[in-house]
Symmetry: none
């Protein structure tokens, strides 16, 4: 279960491609192995089972979101500006990796409850960062003092998620990132409630 060796990364990347191109239920281990250029059995030197591959895909890729957002949060910007950057980042990461967008928005949701539970655990770290951001906005009075943090975060995440899913289901035909400012603007107005 070495998570640093290049072969580990090879397999994770192969999994994203195979799932995106074949769909969750047609992403057999043998297909992933072939795409990664290894034998079927080799997969099991790096992953406990198939579910472990999928959760790893999500964990590895989620890192990008989390790292980026962490960096944004350290910047010398207003909370509103930071929120704008967060939305833009979320859209950009997925627009830049169309395979990943399909996997996170459509395919990985077909997983069973167990796997989704694990995915949610990974997601939690990201959601906490969003919570922190919103909390800061309330504290420094950029957002309404009586803002319900949980609802606000659900609005933030739900809006981004639905926007991206629609974009993916429309076959990524339009430019997602360019919608970020409008989305941020609406969300900010919602949070400001002056």
């Amino acid at each position: 279960m070495k998570r640093t060796k290049p072969k580990y990364k090879q397999i994770v990347d192969a999994a994203v491609i195979v799932i995106a191109e074949n769909g969750y239920h047609q992403a057999q281990v043998s297909k992933i192995a072939k795409e990664a250029g290894v034998a079927d059995g080799t997969i099991y030197l790096y992953f406990k089972n198939k579910e472990d591959i999928l959760i790893s895909v999500f964990r590895e890729k989620m890192t990008i979101f989390v790292e980026n957002v962490k960096e944004i949060l350290t910047k010398d910007l207003s909370t509103s500006e930071k929120l704008g950057k967060v939305v833009e980042n979320h859209f950009r990461v997925l627009q830049d990796d169309p395979h990943l967008a399909i996997v996170t928005q459509l395919e990985l949701r077909q997983s069973n409850k167990d796997l989704r539970f694990q995915i949610n655990n990974v997601l939690k770290e990201y959601l906490i960062l969003l919570d922190n951001l919103l909390d800061t906005g309330v504290k420094n009075e950029e957002f309404a003092v009586d803002l319900d943090l949980r609802l606000a975060r659900q609005m933030l995440f739900g809006t981004m998620d639905e926007t991206i899913t629609s974009w993916v289901m429309n076959e990524q035909k339009y430019d997602l990132v360019s919608l970020a400012p409008k989305v941020s603007k609406m969300l900010l107005h919602g949070f400001q409630q002056k």
Copy 2:
């Protein structure tokens, strides 16, 4: 493929129960048949295949949402007030039918891409009503004139959806309907953008 005979409804209702109680992947046709009190083969006199049962579940239940929203839209209320009623209705219908909430928010999402595309088609009628509502709000200047209708609707639906999913994943432990006013308030501020 008679959709009026009582047995048709029996099977749809059985499907909701079986899926809610066993989960999507454990909802075998034979279980649904047993719950409905018919033989496995009988299912296929009323439904083309398993997918057809699931899409029917969604279609039948969606009717409630659509009927309620249509009625709300005919009322003599401001667009903002109507939007509040729509959010409350969405929350109330699912709070009143916990099985249905589990099925729509968690279980049916595990279906494959094909089925989800079909579900989205059924959903479209509901989304169009939301679009109409938002459009009216823009036209009568309750909402910002430059509101991007599609994004606004994605924010509206995405927020409601994420809020309900969180509630279901928290085992429906708190009162969902009582959150509706706060959610509406945030959304309205977002749409007004004065």
Copy 3:
């Protein structure tokens, strides 16, 4: 799990043939199904899993031994004569069904500990009958009064088992049943210990 329908018996009989001809580890479910003239899946309408087929083979066939011995025990014969008949019966049943002999003496012993534990449970009924026979012989003073029943039964069963296994490993080349009198005679002398 119908154990009376003809298909159940068909599958058990097919299993004996397939195991005898291919060996335990080459007796795939699909081979058994083919030999029985049913689809692979049909097996699972009658058996919980593969292990259940194998234990059923043993249980069904063991019945013959048990029935025969029970009948012998009711006869109006001396204990020594009954013991002779028991040995002869044991040899005859296996000589008459060469496939079964291979399965019980060689193939089924390759099963894992779990299955062997279950097989031993089935065997126990037969061993108890042997115990009863020996006990009667002690009580009516045909056998030594200080005979250790457990050891005596282990000698009885162990001798029969080893004799048959040797015969099977010699490809059943000689007449097994004709050896029964000599075997009984030795055993009886052992038990009598005058």
Copy 4:
């Protein structure tokens, strides 16, 4: 394929431990290698394949039995007394090495027919010694003149084997060696048939 180097013995001993503790089917080559403190690949410098390890286990351990029996046969004792010593030796060797008892009586019997045929070949040397002993007993008229040597040996070995297997399956809870005199006595009466 050096059978003298210490690593060869290391591996054989490791195999006995691993099989006894994990069972035949859970005794993977990698486990044996680990227990022996060598790399998986190293095994194949000393053994042709896995089967070769197992047969070697049997061959190495069988030596103890054979040596002991050979020594007994040279002693200045009656055939009956020698037979008593042989039974006692057989019981004692296995009682003194509980791992070995489990391996020979339960685990190695799960091997496939091929391996068991090879094991029987190794066993043959031991069985020939038993044959010789019995033959001497006939020649010097301690045993019945018309004793069927093969059957007598099958009774001797089968009885010992069944007795030990029962003891192992009863988790070696009672003293096996102390049963030897009773077992010998029964066998001797069987062979004497006066």
